[in-house]
């Protein structure tokens, strides 16, 4: 059995579900993500045996246990390195990496940036709940400054990471954001990530209802969502608030404008182009604290998607080229080396 947002679903209904009991807290945003991933895997027509889930440590990293695929639950922060080794020798598999804000951006910070710059072909789902859940409520590298948590009773003094700006800075080739409370959007973004060859990174806002409940409610609740979120689509102008407002680029600076009755025409708005690295760099910077005065809306969707050869493609090409030039390895020739002498 598993539970999706409080609704219990029989395990046998989920093709990609494993026989393991799901052990996240009731009401956790992880259930929704699990359900969407299972649905996507089913719809994609992949064979279960060709799919591998690799994770680190944390609540989200239990994910592989709940899927009837191959899975490896690794150690804290190191999933990107495990993935890099696996992909280097198995470019045939569909590899997914599950991580969280602490796993990917704190203890594994050094690995995630190198995964992105190398462009290893993997779908990375970064569950961001802005808190440490499994260790019971300490602040994370994405917790806002001043966050009062069990380890910061007087408020956090750390400036948080802007995860997607970090990933863009590391030259990631696919950068997207979604949320646990918008299953349809998440499915679409997951499908795009799956189709992309290279490191596809999706930051998923995920509610930890135990230690950081409501962290993203401004973006997820019906009343506030329209004014505080903007869903970007390729080739479409950036509009929000039910189409009544938009974002225009004044040179390099995005500004919010009205789009109705005498306002800015749609053609003059920022037209989303996910292949434009400069625009993507600005888009990831729309990161205002939603509680602040005049905050820009927070974007969701695929910010950036561009093709670059994958790391494993380049590695295997070198191996093929070496075989072509030198012939397949001859162990006797290798042992003999270049200079020998004979005695007797």
């Amino acid at each position: 059995m598993s539970t999706v947002n409080g609704t219990t679903i029989p395990a046998e209904k989920i093709d990609f579900g494993s026989d393991q009991e799901v052990r996240w807290c009731p009401g956790c945003g992880d259930y929704s993500i699990l359900k969407q991933v299972q649905t996507l895997l089913e719809q994609s027509g992949k064979k279960k045996e060709d799919v591998v889930f690799i994770s680190g440590i944390g609540c989200s990293s239990r994910f592989p246990y709940y899927l009837d695929t191959y899975g490896l639950h690794g150690i804290h922060g190191r999933a990107p390195a495990i993935v890099s080794g696996l992909r280097s020798v198995r470019p045939d598999l569909s590899v997914w990496m599950i991580t969280g804000d602490g796993d990917a951006l704190s203890i594994g910070g050094n690995h995630i940036i190198h995964l992105l710059r190398r462009n290893v072909d993997v779908n990375v789902l970064l569950f961001n709940n802005e808190i440490y859940g499994l260790t019971k409520g300490q602040y994370s590298p994405t917790s806002p400054e001043g966050a009062v948590t069990r380890s910061t009773p007087m408020g956090s003094t750390d400036h948080p990471f802007n995860p997607l700006a970090l990933c863009k800075g590391a030259d990631g080739t696919f950068i997207a954001r979604s949320m646990d409370r918008d299953p349809k959007h998440m499915r679409e973004v997951l499908a795009r990530a799956d189709a992309h060859r290279g490191t596809s990174l999706i930051e998923i806002y995920q509610n930890c209802n135990v230690f950081n409940d409501g962290a993203f409610e401004t973006f997820t609740e019906k009343a506030t969502k329209p004014l505080h979120t903007i869903f970007v689509e390729q080739g479409k102008p950036l509009t929000f608030a039910n189409g009544t407002r938009g974002i225009k680029l004044n040179g390099m600076t995005p500004v919010v404008v009205d789009t109705y009755a005498g306002g800015t025409s749609l053609e003059d708005l920022w037209i989303h182009d996910e292949r434009d690295p400069f625009k993507a760099s600005i888009l990831v910077r729309l990161f205002d604290d939603p509680r602040s005065e005049g905050a820009m809306p927070r974007p969701f969707g695929v910010f950036y998607a561009n093709n670059r050869a994958t790391h494993e493609a380049k590695l295997t090409a070198q191996v093929s080229l070496a075989k072509e030039r030198k012939g397949p390895g001859d162990l006797d020739a290798l042992l003999k080396g270049e200079h020998t002498w004979t005695i007797g």
Partner: protein, 633 residues
Amino acid sequence: MSTTIKKKPVETRENVVILFAGDSGDGIQLTGSQFTGTNALFGNDVSTFPNFPAEIRAPQGTLAGVSGYQLHFGSVEIFTPGDQCDVLVVMNAAALKANLGKVKPGGTIIANSDGFDKKNLRLAGYIDKADPLTDGSLANFHLHSVDVTKLTRTALEGTTLGMKEKDRCKNMFVLGFINWMYSRENALTEDFLRNKFGKKPELLDANMKALVAGYHYGDTSETFTTRFEVKAAPMPKGTYRAITGNQGTALGLIAGAQKAKLDLFYGSYPITPASDILHELSRHKNFGVVTFQAEDEIAAISSAIGASYGGAIGVTASSGPGIALKTEAMGLAFMLEIPLVIVNVQRGGPSTGLPTKTEQADLWQAVHGRNGEAPIPVIAASTPIDCFDMAFEAVQIALEHMTPVILLTDGYIANGSEPWRFPSAKDLPEIKPPVIASNADGDAKQSRPAAFDGSGAFLPYARDERGVRPWALPGQPGLQHRIGGIEKQDKTGSISYEPLNHELMVRLRGEKVARIADRYKPIRLDSGPDQGELLIVGWGSTYGAIRTAALQLQAEGQSVAHVHIRHMFPFNNGLGGVLKKYKKVLVPEMNSGQLRQMLRGEFLVDAQGLNKIQGMPFTGEEIRAGALKLLKS
């Protein structure tokens, strides 16, 4: 310089130890390795010890910048680079000062007099700039002062090279002269130069000229009245090549992967003295070798785990500080029960320690250095050649027993070289990992029926009679399973926090590793009587020094035997019995007594230590003296 060339007398020597020393930019390592190659090609047995500073170009002329290359060659079997030098060749005052203590009384010193000017004397710290070449302080040696710089420049007059480039040919002049002195040909080095400078004719010409000039200098100079000859050694018949320990390790890993019909994945982060393994492996991609220079040591081992999970043999290597970083991931590999080879080319520690010097102080780190009960088999190579054998064995154990394996070598054997009568591929055993595979119908059960429960569910942690679990690779239908570092239920591998299950799993994993000893040959003495007064127990790179000492002691009539341990954990069966057949046990180690403590703990024997922690290998004489002292006590 005389122009008449008289035939000079030739004296025969059984073995010679020669040490080349100079600034780290003087080309000392090249000079040494070329002379080694020439002697090996001639048929001598050889052993070498390159010794260089951690800095790439330490300040010129200082003691810190001295680079050395010691070579022992002979017409007899050679086990070490030699205790004391017959000949010391120094390019400057600092090189003399740093190495004078290594020269035998009455030994020969050949000094480049140009390296003893006021500046060099001051930098080397000679008080009041007293010149040892002229002040009589070297009266107990045969001193030959030769102005190598001037002679080289003279030989290169008329070439288009600048002074700096001319001076860089000094090492070839020295090499030519030494070739003359030991009745060797320049041919090997001429070939080498043609390969190296084929596209730079001026440099090729200059180096050739300097080499020949050095050779002729021996013939014409009146200072040198005698040449020497070291006849070929009675080496077993066969074809040989030279090999360093790091090369041996790299080739052993490739050979292991080939014999298992697997690709080799090598994840590593550059570190002295292990980097040459990466350099060597990266040249052999046509063997299905993938090298991955990771962002750090942790990523290096984690990527290797990922590659092993995918069905390659994952390997990582480092030295002490890097191994410390890999510790957590070793625990994961142990818990996953996945094949993995971890090579530690030990260096002086702790922390950054002595990066270019040798030590054996990571034995406890290898055997004990993980959280929880995580016994990992540990094996150790004893010579450069043995690095090949042990690397091959590491791959074999890892794959056939589904476990990480630690291979210990050290800077001394990693950089040292010796002649290797290399094996042929067909003589190496096939390696057979317990892979479970689906047939064309997608049925995996036929492959290993015991790995399935009554309902047909796959059990990733069902063990065979050796305690080894099956290796199910992603992509195989019907074998989907989840593994991880969290404690798992016996057989199924599902998460389990059951108290009794945990105890069972700790025992099962421990027993699996303990049983690996059953595949090892029972321990055998290296030399000496099978019972008696004293047993010298060694491990790792002390092999040559201990063997030299033991053979000498036996020749002197002492009741001394030598056993050398290559399987550090678990130990070979029968070791405890061997230890108890001698009244005394001596354990020489380049640490404070790590193996000694293990032997005491395991076998309750009163093992005594002989410990040297100077970043330098033992000499045979130090071992002999230590053994005699214990025999008399």
